[in-house]
Structures are given as structure tokens and as C-alpha cells.
């Protein structure tokens, strides 16, 4: 069992948890992810590592409630445990590897974090700061109430630019618009890392391609085992089929086929909706979902 030692609600529907998982905390690096399973009946849910404490043996995860499983997860409290917690999975971020440090130091790096994408961006920026590398961060969200980790990010970023789609805080607009403004104002970047919802990463890549900034994205497709066995997470990068769990999760954003990846992400939408309905309505559910037969 993997106990939850800290739980915080960061924003509407966004939660943070520190989970005790010593083996993972000992070996993980920024860019990698874990898979969590709540109990016997739960799904295996992949989540990017947001922070880690090697001494305490804990991993910080941040998640947004999007389906039945994440809603059940949000109900857990400090002292509760996850049945399963496995990782670190996937490859570490190339810019956060000791052996690439000399190369990384030469780069002018900008991160674009969208929504919960802030969580996986944070450990990378923190690692870079600890290794003497400056990086700018653009952190965007739909509205002020959904922002989180602003102070933490400010502490590790060279410059932090916060944006909201509705203008309720910081720059009024999306993160990529902020990037364009910075570049037009004379800022020079030669490496971009964009992490967030697929649609945001897609548009970030369209912009950075225009601005000629090589861009790395972190893909979060549907997964089952996360160790290269099931092939659910396959995506097309350039002309090749890649498995996000073992080849990724980070890829050259200018080569990723986002449209296909987004379609594949919809694959279990109806099934997820059904599970959500079952969870919300419990025993009171009697039909209407079109599957249970309750309305026949």
C-alpha cells in the first residue's frame, strides 16, 4: 500500500497529493510519470510526476477530476492509501539529464504550461534552477481560480508570465499569444517545452513552428500497463508509430500528429461517461444511459 501523506485542493477540481513510494522517489527524474491504481476495481491512471523528495521517499502528484476514477480519487484523504503506485515510467526529459547538462546550459529555454500541465513543468524548471540553468515560464489557465503553484513556480523560473483566457489575472489571452508578444518584443528562445491539454500543445506547436523554436511536448494518451506491453498509447510522430510509455512521453512537438492523438483520446469517452453516471447516480440510476437496459 502507498499512503497519502499530504492532500491539498489547489483549485476547482484540481488536487495535489504527496504519496509515499520510496522506490519511485529514489530513482525518478523530471519528465517521467507514474501509474496509480486506487483499489481492486480501479483503473490504472497515468499521472506525470510533479515533485519528489528523495529523503522522505514521497512523490507529489497533481490531478484534475475528469472522470469517475479521478472523482473517486479526489475523495481520498491524508492517511488513506493507494493500492498500487508504480514508476517511474517513461524517459526523463532530455534537458533534465546530467549527461546533457553542458548542451542544456547553452539553450535559451521557455516553458509553456497549460492548465494541469503546470504540474509536470514544475519539476523540470526546478531541476534546471538547481543545476544553474535559467528558464522562462509562461503559465496559462482559463481563469484566475484555476491557477495553482504560482508562487512555487516564481521561485524557480527566471521570469514567470501568467496568463488567463478571460483576463481575470495576468496577461489576457492564451500562453502562445504571450509567447508571440515576448518574441516580438525582442526575447530570444531556441528551446520550448509545451505541456498541457493536447489541443493547447497542438496550437503551441503551430506558433513555435512559425517562430522557428524547436519544441518538446509531453503526450498523455490512454494507457493500460505503461511498460510497453499493450500498445494503447501509440501515436504517430513523423512517419513512425511510437509508444508514449516507453519511447516518450516527450516527443518533438513539430512531428506529432495531434489530430489523430486527440481522436484516439476520445476512444473510451462513452464508456467513461457511463462509469461516471453510475458513480453519480449510484443505486438511483435506472436508465437513460442507453446501455444498462434500465429503460427498456
Amino acid at each position: 500500500m502507498y499512503p497519502i501523506v499530504r492532500k491539498e485542493k489547489l483549485a476547482d477540481k484540481i488536487y495535489l497529493m504527496d504519496v509515499e513510494a520510496p522506490r519511485v522517489a529514489k530513482s525518478c527524474l523530471p519528465g517521467q510519470f507514474i501509474i496509480i491504481k486506487m483499489d481492486e476495481e480501479g483503473e490504472r491512471i497515468p499521472l506525470t510526476i510533479c515533485d519528489y523528495d528523495r529523503q522522505k521517499g514521497t512523490i507529489t502528484i497533481v490531478f484534475q477530476t475528469v472522470g469517475a476514477s479521478t472523482m473517486r480519487m479526489a475523495d481520498l484523504s491524508e492517511g488513506d492509501s493507494f493500492m498500487d503506485f508504480v514508476g517511474p515510467l517513461g524517459c526523463p526529459s532530455e534537458i533534465c539529464m546530467e549527461e546533457n547538462l553542458e548542451e542544456t546550459k547553452k539553450k535559451k529555454i521557455v516553458f509553456i504550461a497549460g492548465g494541469v500541465g503546470t504540474a509536470p513543468v514544475y519539476p523540470q524548471v526546478k531541476w534546471l534552477k538547481e543545476h544553474g540553468v535559467d528558464a522562462d515560464v509562461i503559465m496559462g489557465s482559463r481563469t484566475k481560480d484555476l491557477l495553482f503553484y504560482v508562487d512555487e513556480m516564481k521561485a524557480v523560473a527566471a521570469n514567470l508570465y501568467v496568463t488567463t483566457d478571460d483576463g481575470s489575472f495576468g496577461f489576457h489571452g492564451v500562453g502562445t499569444a504571450q509567447l508571440e508578444e515576448l518574441v516580438n518584443g525582442g526575447k530570444v528562445y531556441d528551446h520550448c517545452v509545451a505541456i498541457g491539454p493536447m489541443i493547447m500543445m497542438k496550437f503551441a506547436c503551430i506558433t513555435t513552428k512559425k517562430l522557428n523554436i524547436p519544441t518538446v511536448v509531453s503526450m498523455n494518451p490512454i494507457m493500460v500497463d505503461g511498460t510497453g506491453m499493450c500498445g494503447a498509447c501509440r501515436l504517430v510522430v513523423g512517419d513512425e508509430v511510437k509508444f508514449a510509455c516507453v519511447d516518450g512521453p516527450e516527443f518533438d512537438g513539430h512531428l506529432v500528429d495531434f489530430d489523430q492523438a486527440m481522436k484516439r483520446q476520445q476512444q473510451y469517452k462513452t464508456e467513461e461517461g457511463r462509469a461516471m453516471l453510475k458513480l453519480q447516480e449510484g443505486d438511483t440510476h435506472h436508465g437513460g444511459c442507453g446501455h444498462c437496459g434500465g429503460d427498456k
Binding site: Q32, A68, L89, G228, G231
Partner: protein, 461 residues
């Protein structure tokens, strides 16, 4: 009774079992087992044993069954096999022990597999377990993967007194026995979990949720965690796809994904959160045991299922019994046919599959006649789900993170056939990680050989 024929075994009616996940074959009763055992000629130079990758003393255990001494029969089997209830169910007996049975020359071979299963089931129901080692020797060995090869290797080493820890990447022990082979062929709670309990009762520890190469490396196990030898039984890896247009569409799955969702993640049970695509018309591409498993699973979830295979029935790599069961249940076999394209609708979902007819040409390297396309024979079939069951290629997680571990051209770990010895001192390997996708029993044979070699290595140190 006709001594030339096997005592028939009771099975669930095809029509009934096509709608449930209960076991298909119900196994022999005591009386049936004893009657079948009486057909054994008790050959002095037993050919059947030569066909068994773990060399079970087959005539000896059958002689005990004949007399009704089931516990004695169990002890004979468990000297050689850690997983008899599994092997009795999933071994390809027709090409192994039963394939060599002298009875089989004129009539039907003795039903060795069904007898093994009976003995193992009887022992389980009567609470009989294998005997643990009397004395521990204090040497620590790590086993990577809790599938058939890992469990066998760990069990054998524990019997010799070793302190064995198995590291499993998934949340449940069993490897392919859990995620791959379906419930209706190999019950998880009743059979697999109990066999794993037996291995544990020998003193083997199992640590789940540890991905070797990621959570910890083999070098760290050897240098920091005090293990003196390692056996790699990590299994096969990444699923293969055909590389035809439309393969990334929604509704196209690897057999591994489809089976894992259903078997390990129990999508077929309502109380589990796992989603699965049930499909109404499913095409399974491939002709191996995994293809049969995927097809029969899709059928049970309510679909019309076609198996599309590019060669003819004679070349189907699946066990004869699986093909027979699949046909009985209503799986449609479209043989000598091969997909050329998956047709996709405007929302990115599978709507059909384009198929070309094949004919058999000259034998290829594997000795099987290679299929050749029949020009102009393409046609389209409607389908909403396609399951690719084309085998796997090795997983790089271990080979890429272990210093001095050689892999071959096909990226499989290089290991000596008789010992499992790899290029790295103290590290042994076996099963699919070495051979590429094969059978449960071959993996067990490799685990067994490696256990013996590891014992010799550590005793000689």
C-alpha cells in the same frame, strides 16, 4: 469402453459458454481420471517424458492416479513443475507429451494434460501444497517477472533453500497467466492465484509494482541490494502492427490491450471501472493462441467475430483444442485472407476492413508454405473493431539499462539454451524475453534450466 479412445471430458455447452466467462472444460472426475489412467501402457522407455519441457515423470504419476493415490501423483508432478494446474490447461500437449504417446500410434494418445489438471485440482481442493526446503542457504536471488518462467525459476530455487524475491512490474503477479490468458481457459482466483500461493508457500517473496530498468536496475540489485544472481523472465514486449493504412484509427487494438483490459483489469465484470470496446462486429487478425483468446473474449462480450488469417487451417499456430473450441462457439474463420487497409469513418472510427485473398506458395524459412496474394481478389468487410494479434517484439526496458547484457539482431536477450546464462556474470534469462513469443511451458522449461544453472553458479562461488 474403447481403449483406443480418450475418456471424454465434460465441457460447458458451446451455446451456453459463448455468453459467459466460466471455464470451458470442466475436467475429469475421480472415476474418469482413474479410467483414463488405466489406458497408459507404462512404457519403460517413456516417449512422453521426452516431449515434456520440464521432464515430468509422466508414467509414474499416471500409475498413481490409476491406483487412486492422487496425493502421491501430485508429489511426483510437483518435483518437476511449479504450475501443474496451469500446464494441464494451457500446454500444447498434442505437440509435446501426448504427441509422443505410443497409444497415439494406433488410437488416441493418453489424455496426459487432463490427468495432470485433475491431479493439480484435486491437490488444491484437498489443501495439499508442495513441501518447502528444510534449510535455507542464505543466498539471495532476484527474479524479474512473475510469469511462467519467473515462477518456475523462483520455485525451484526456493526448494533448494535460496532466498528468492520476484519483482513484478504490474500490480498483480502471474504475468501472461493473468493479463493474457482469459478466465474461461484459466480461472484467475481458482487456479492462477492458488498456484502463486503455492510458490509463495515455498518462501518466495513477490514485490509488485517494480519496473526493473526504471524503479531499480539490475546493476543496483546486484551491487546495492545484495542479490548474488538475477534471473530475467520479463516476457515479450511491444505489440506488432501490420503497417497498413487506418491502423491508428479508434477501434483498432492490439490483442494485448484488449486482453489486458478484460483479463487483468476485469472489464467484463460490472463492478470494475475498466472501459472496453465491446464491438458488434469484430475482426481478429492472426492465427495464434492469443488470436483465439481475443476472438473468444470478444464473442463473450457480445460480438460477431471473424478471424482473418493469411495461411490455411493446417498452418494455424494455435493449439488444436483452441481452434476447435472457437469454432464450436461460433467464431467465423476467414482463412487464406489478409487485411490490406482499415476503413475509417469521418470521426476516426473503424467502419470496415479491406481484405485480399491469398494462396499458398513455396515453404518459407519456418517450413510453412508462404502465402501469396491473389491479384484482384480484394473485397471489403464491415467491422467496428479490429484486433491485431501478430505477436510482439522485445521490450527494451531491461536490455537498455543493464551494463554488459548482450541482445541479438531481433533485440532479444542472448542466453545459452541449456542454462539461460547471459553475457553478464550472475545474470540468467529465459522465456519470451529470450525466445520471442512462445508458450507457457517452454518458458517454464527455461526457468527450470536457469534455476539449476544459478544453483551451480552460486555453489561454485
Amino acid at each position: 469402453m474403447d481403449v483406443m479412445k480418450k475418456v471424454p471430458v465434460t465441457e460447458q455447452e458451446p451455446k451456453v459458454r459463448a455468453t459467459n466467462f466460466e471455464e470451458v472444460c470442466l475436467g475429469y472426475t475421480k472415476e474418469e481420471a482413474m479410467e483414463e489412467a488405466a489406458r497408459c501402457l507404462n512404457c519403460k522407455n517413456a516417449q512422453c517424458m521426452k516431449g515434456c519441457p520440464v521432464s515430468i515423470d509422466i508414467p509414474a504419476f499416471i500409475a498413481e492416479v490409476k491406483e487412486g493415490n492422487f496425493e502421491a501423483a501430485y508429489q511426483i508432478i510437483s518435483k518437476s513443475s511449479a504450475l501443474p494446474a496451469v500446464c494441464g490447461r494451457v500446454c500444447p500437449q498434442e505437440s509435446q507429451c501426448e504427441g509422443k504417446c505410443i497409444r497415439g500410434i494406433k488410437g488416441e494418445a493418453v489424455s496426459i494434460g487432463k490427468l495432470e489438471r485433475f491431479v493439480a485440482d484435486w491437490a488444491r481442493e484437498n489443501g495439499i501444497k508442495p513441501a518447502p526446503a528444510e534449510k535455507k542457504n542464505g543466498h539471495k536471488v532476484a527474479v524479474i517477472g512473475s510469469g511462467p518462467s519467473g515462477l518456475t525459476c523462483a520455485g525451484d530455487l526456493a526448494k533448494l533453500g535460496y532466498d528468492v524475491t520476484i519483482f513484478e512490474a504490474l500490480h498483480e503477479a502471474g504475468g501472461v497467466l493473468c493479463y493474457g490468458i482469459p478466465e474461461f481457459r484459466l480461472p484467475k482466483q481458482k487456479v492462477v492465484a492458488k498456484e502463486i500461493e503455492n510458490v509463495k508457500s515455498l518462501g518466495v517473496k513477490i514485490e509488485t509494482n517494480v519496473v526493473i530498468g526504471k524503479s531499480v536496475t539490475i546493476d543496483e540489485l546486484l551491487e546495492e541490494e545484495g542479490f548474488e544472481a538475477v534471473f530475467i523472465g520479463s516476457g515479450a514486449g511491444l505489440p506488432r502492427f501490420m503497417g497498413i493504412p487506418g491502423e491508428q484509427a479508434n477501434g483498432v487494438f492490439s490483442a494485448n490491450e484488449f486482453l489486458t483490459r478484460n483479463n487483468l483489469m476485469k472489464a467484463f465484470k460490472n463492478e470494475y471501472d475498466t472501459p472496453i470496446r465491446e464491438g458488434s462486429k469484430v475482426v481478429v487478425v492472426g492465427g495464434g493462441n492469443v488470436a483465439m483468446d481475443a476472438a473468444r473474449t470478444a464473442l463473450r462480450l457480445g460480438a460477431e467475430v471473424h478471424i482473418v488469417y493469411r495461411r490455411s487451417e493446417a498452418e494455424l499456430p494455435a493449439r488444436a483444442e483452441e481452434v476447435h473450441h472457437a469454432k464450436e462457439e461460433g467464431i467465423i474463420f476467414d482463412l487464406l485472407q489478409n487485411p490490406t487497409e482499415i476503413l475509417v469513418d469521418e470521426n476516426g472510427w473503424v467502419k470496415g476492413i479491406k481484405i485480399i485473398r491469398m494462396e499458398l506458395g513455396e515453404p518459407d524459412a519456418s517450413g510453412r508454405r508462404s502465402p501469396v496474394e491473389v491479384p484482384g481478389s480484394e473485397y471489403e468487410m464491415e467491422a467496428d473493431t479490429v484486433i491485431m494479434s501478430l505477436g510482439t517484439s522485445p521490450n527494451p526496458l531491461i536490455s537498455s539499462t543493464t551494463k554488459g547484457l548482450d541482445i541479438n539482431r531481433r533485440k532479444c536477450i542472448v542466453a545459452e539454451e541449456d542454462t539461460g546464462k547471459t553475457s553478464k556474470e550472475g545474470v540468467y534469462a529465459g522465456g519470451d524475453a529470450v525466445t520471442g513469443a512462445a508458450t507457457v511451458i517452454l518458458a517454464m522449461g527455461a526457468g527450470k534450466n536457469a534455476a539449476k544453472a544459478i544453483d551451480e553458479y552460486l555453489q561454485g562461488k
